[in-house]
Symmetry: C2
Subunit: 172 residues, 2 copies
DNA sequence: CCGTTATGTCAGTTACGTTGACATATTAAT
DNA sequence: ATTAATATGTCAACGTAACTGACATAACGG
C-alpha cells in the first residue's frame, strides 16, 4: 500500500501529516458541531454567543458577571449586548448578590433551560453517538488529548468535573 | 470519593455530565488552539479566515475555487475578500486551469508557505505535546471520537489521509 | 448557438467582537 | 469617615467576517 511504504520511508512526513490532520479534525468537528444549533438560534434572532451564555450560566447557576467573562474571554461590552437581550426575553435572570451587593448573580429561567435543551439536543446526540461508536477507551483517549491541548487556566475548570452541578467550583 | 458515589447513585446524571463536558472541551480546545495564531495574524492585518485559506490551499495545491468553497463552507463573496488580499500580498497564486480554462487553480507561494509554517507552529506544538503526553492509544481514541462527530461529507475527507500530499483526493 | 458552469463583483446587512471613556453602587482599607 | 478599589453598566465608534441578492463574464459542452 502507498501509505505503508510512505510510513516506512518517511516517518517524519507522517508525523507532520498526523499533526495537520489533528488541526483539521478540530476545525471540521467544531464547525459541524455548531452548525445545527446555529440554525435554531436564527429563529430566536439569537447567535452563537447567546448559546454560549445560556450554556455556561445553566452550568454555573448563580455565576457572577466577572466569572462569566473569565470563561467566555470577551469584554463586558460584548457580553452586555447578548446578556441584556437574554434577560429582556426572559431566558436569564439577574439577582443582586447577598454577600456582595455589587454582584449580579445570573441564573437561567425555566424558559431558558428549555431553550438550552433544544439548542444542545443535537450536540448531545452528536457526542453521544461518537462516544458510543468509539467506545469507552477511545473516549478516555479523546478526553486526555483534548485536556492536553487546553491552556492551564481552562484545564483547571475540569479539575472538579465529576462533582455535582451545585458544587462545581466557580472561576478558573 | 464524591465522584465515585455519584457515579453509582446516578449514572444517568453522569452521562449527561459527560456529554456536557465534551461540549465544553470542544469549545475551550478550539479557542485555545486558535488564540496564538490569531495574534500573529493581526500583524499582517489578516484574520482567522486567511489562515484557513492558506492552510487548505497549502494542503491541496492546485485546488480550484469551488472545491475550496466546499471545504470552507462559506460563500464565494466571503472567500473573495480574503483570497484577493492573499493574492495581492503574494501569499497565494492563481493559475488558469489547463483542461478547464474557467477554473482558477490556487497554490501557495514560498512566501505563503513560510507564513503558514509560522501560523501553525504553535498549533503543531500544542497538538504534538497533547499527543505525546496522552500516548499513542489515546491519540487513536481521540481520532476515533473526532471522526465520529463529523458529518458524512467531512468524514470523507479523511478517507485517504495517509496518502502523500500530491495524491490526496480533492473535493468531498 | 445555447444552456450550464466557474468565477468575480457590487451593494447592503448582520453578528460579534474590539477600544476608550465615563457613571454608579458597593466594598474594603487606611 | 474618607478614600481607593471593585463590580457592573453604558455610550459611542469601529472592524472583521460572515450573509443575501443581483448581475457580469468567460469558457465549456451538447
Amino acid at each position: 500500500m502507498a501509505d505503508i511504504s510512505t510510513r516506512k520511508v518517511n516517518p517524519l512526513f507522517l508525523r507532520e501529516e498526523e499533526l495537520r490532520q489533528g488541526m483539521e479534525l478540530l476545525f471540521y468537528a467544531y464547525r459541524d458541531f455548531t452548525a445545527e444549533a446555529d440554525l435554531l438560534l436564527e429563529q430566536y434572532n439569537f447567535g452563537r454567543a447567546h448559546h454560549r451564555v445560556i450554556h455556561f450560566v445553566s452550568r454555573n447557576p448563580g455565576i457572577n458577571v466577572s466569572d462569566l467573562l473569565a470563561i467566555l474571554q470577551i469584554t463586558k461590552q460584548s457580553l452586555s449586548r447578548v446578556l441584556s437581550q437574554l434577560v429582556r426575553d426572559g431566558f436569564i435572570e439577574q439577582k443582586t448578590g447577598i454577600q456582595d451587593r455589587r454582584q449580579r448573580l445570573l441564573t437561567v429561567t425555566e424558559k431558558g433551560e428549555e431553550l438550552e435543551r433544544k439548542l444542545s439536543e443535537n450536540q448531545r446526540t452528536l457526542i453521544a453517538n461518537a462516544y458510543r461508536e468509539a467506545g469507552a477507551e477511545a473516549v478516555e483517549g479523546f478526553r486526555k488529548v483534548m485536556l492536553g491541548m487546553l491552556g492551564a487556566s481552562d484545564r483547571a475548570r475540569f479539575d472538579d468535573e465529576f462533582l455535582p452541578n451545585g458544587l462545581r467550583r466557580r472561576l478558573g
